[in-house]
Symmetry: C2
Subunit: 323 residues, 2 copies
């Protein structure tokens, strides 16, 4: 993959994906002694960056393939991105979702017009369900991260950051990315390596799901033992991808890890200072910027999504005592 793949994705997304703002908060910056910019992808269509990769991938299919329909596995954000992108392009989408995904994500995926097939994480074989549907109907699988056109779509965020950074006087910065399987991180890292090579990209993961941090440290793909047990549902993936890991290994590190409580406090600070709604998994990069950064270097934190049910949002405030 090269920067040309990302530029091609940008052309396909033109007029469809939103240019999301890069926000800072002067009072917070004064408190922290450094500037923290939030790339507010929670304001992207469908409430997360996933729309970019989904639209990039589906728009790259040939017409006949696209018209047979697509299928995806997702706990919610990729689901909504694929559902909306498919609908916009006049094709159908089947989304295989775990039955414990947040209610709003399941409901919205259906509302975007997708056929939702629920499975039980503990007892069902997700891949078998998906493979059987895909074969029966000739559907194309849109993987959530280990797919070049998906990575290229997420990389358009990196192009935007490079453009937005200049007028803000951002010449060197740490770019912190909420990381599941690494599609967002590797796309941004590829784009910035070309457009803003002085920016350093670091992954941020929840405690107990630090497969990427350990993989970067050891140089080999490492897996998580657990599949559940964090509120950061959007980024609980078992291991980095075969395509994403080499890119991250070349361009990113070291990986950072935050607690669920850190993510909750970051959600409260995003509310108070940035006036945006973040889901737990979309707040881990901001959490790392707020609670685990040292020095005075500017930070750009990717706020990857805002699809959170109200009880989870309320609990983030009440249990963190931040606001």
């Amino acid at each position: 993959m090269t920067i040309d793949d990302i530029l091609a994705a940008r052309a396909r997304l033109e007029g469809h994906a939103r240019l999301t703002p890069l926000l800072n908060a002067p009072l917070l910056d004064a408190e922290l002694g450094r500037r923290v910019f939030l790339k507010a992808e929670c304001l992207q269509k469908t409430g997360s960056f996933k729309y970019r990769g989904a639209r990039s991938a589906i728009s790259a299919l040939d017409d006949a393939t696209r018209n047979r329909g697509v299928i995806a596995f997702s706990s919610g954000n990729h689901a909504q991105g694929v559902a909306l992108a498919a609908k916009e392009m006049g094709t159908s989408a089947v989304i295989v979702m775990p039955s414990d995904a947040p209610d709003a994500k399941i409901e919205n995926t259906k509302a975007y017009g997708a056929e939702v097939v629920l499975y039980d994480r503990a007892t069902d074989d997700r891949d078998a369900i998906g493979a059987s549907l895909a074969e029966a109907r000739g559907l194309t699988l849109i993987k959530p991260f280990d797919n070049e056109t998906v990575i290229a779509g997420q990389g358009t965020i990196g192009l935007e950051i490079a453009d937005q950074a200049k007028p803000l006087g951002l010449e060197k910065a740490s770019v912190l990315v909420c990381c599941g399987g690494g599609g967002l991180t590797s796309g941004i890292a590829l784009a910035l390596a070309d457009r803003a090579p002085d920016f350093r990209v670091q992954t941020v993961e929840p405690q107990g799901f630090d497969d990427v941090a350990r993989s970067l440290e050891t140089g080999q793909i490492q897996r998580n033992d657990a599949q559940t047990g964090s509120i950061c549902d959007a980024i609980l993936t078992p291991a980095p991808g075969d395509l994403t890991f080499p890119i991250m290994k070349a361009h990113c590190g070291p990986g950072l890890v935050v607690s669920d409580a850190d993510a909750q406090r970051a959600m409260a600070i995003a509310f108070a200072h940035f006036k945006v709604v973040l889901e737990p998994g979309g707040a881990v990069a901001l959490a790392a910027a707020l609670f685990h950064a040292t020095g005075t270097q500017d930070i750009i934190a990717i706020a990857s999504g805002g699809n959170v049910d109200w009880p989870v949002f309320r609990d983030a405030f009440e249990s963190s005592g931040t606001v």
Copy 2:
């Protein structure tokens, strides 16, 4: 006042005020049968549009006047806008605030470096306090709305809307504006009358504080009886201004009125569909778009601010039962 005043304000704000996004939510649009776009000024510096007018006014002063400092009366959003703009331009600000203003607004105004003087709405004479301070120190009063350079600053939002509307295919639209004294409304109306004359601007006010709606209806400035009694603290003004009313009379109407409960439900929908934080007074335009609009015409609702304390935000959800 003419469009040239607004263009001059835009030049003074260039590189300082943020271009805020114009957001819609496909699922909400499908539910409503019309598109509703949110001009997200809650993402403006200081969390409300007021920064634009404040910076426009202070930057239009001659150096000697500006250097003596400025003073403002405000329950919070104008306060923060004036405080930050003054700080950025290297001068001092005194803000006279009611002691029952939201905590976050008082604290933030201080944090932006202003000297805050609190008064009791029931017993103190705000104007006397301000006049005495202004005279003693040679401060210039930055009025919250009845000031040409303030109106021109708010009008830059109208220029942005006209630019942003074209690629979205927005040719005719109702533009709903959260309205207190009319600075925001009159600025936007002036800009759109020049740049997008097919857009119709309407004011939105809270029940019991519908002075502008009644003034537009009767053609004469009408006053509110009450000064408190709505959660929409940002827009509880006694009457439209001598400068703003003739502009609104020429370009706007009829005025719309929403209940506090409508504003709370709109805050919940902004959370769920737009991923932005709105304060009650910043949500009334969206409330009118959601609950009081008829027909299928596109609507642009100005989301004027997001400076809300957590208990008020929580209560909007729990009492509206929306989410």
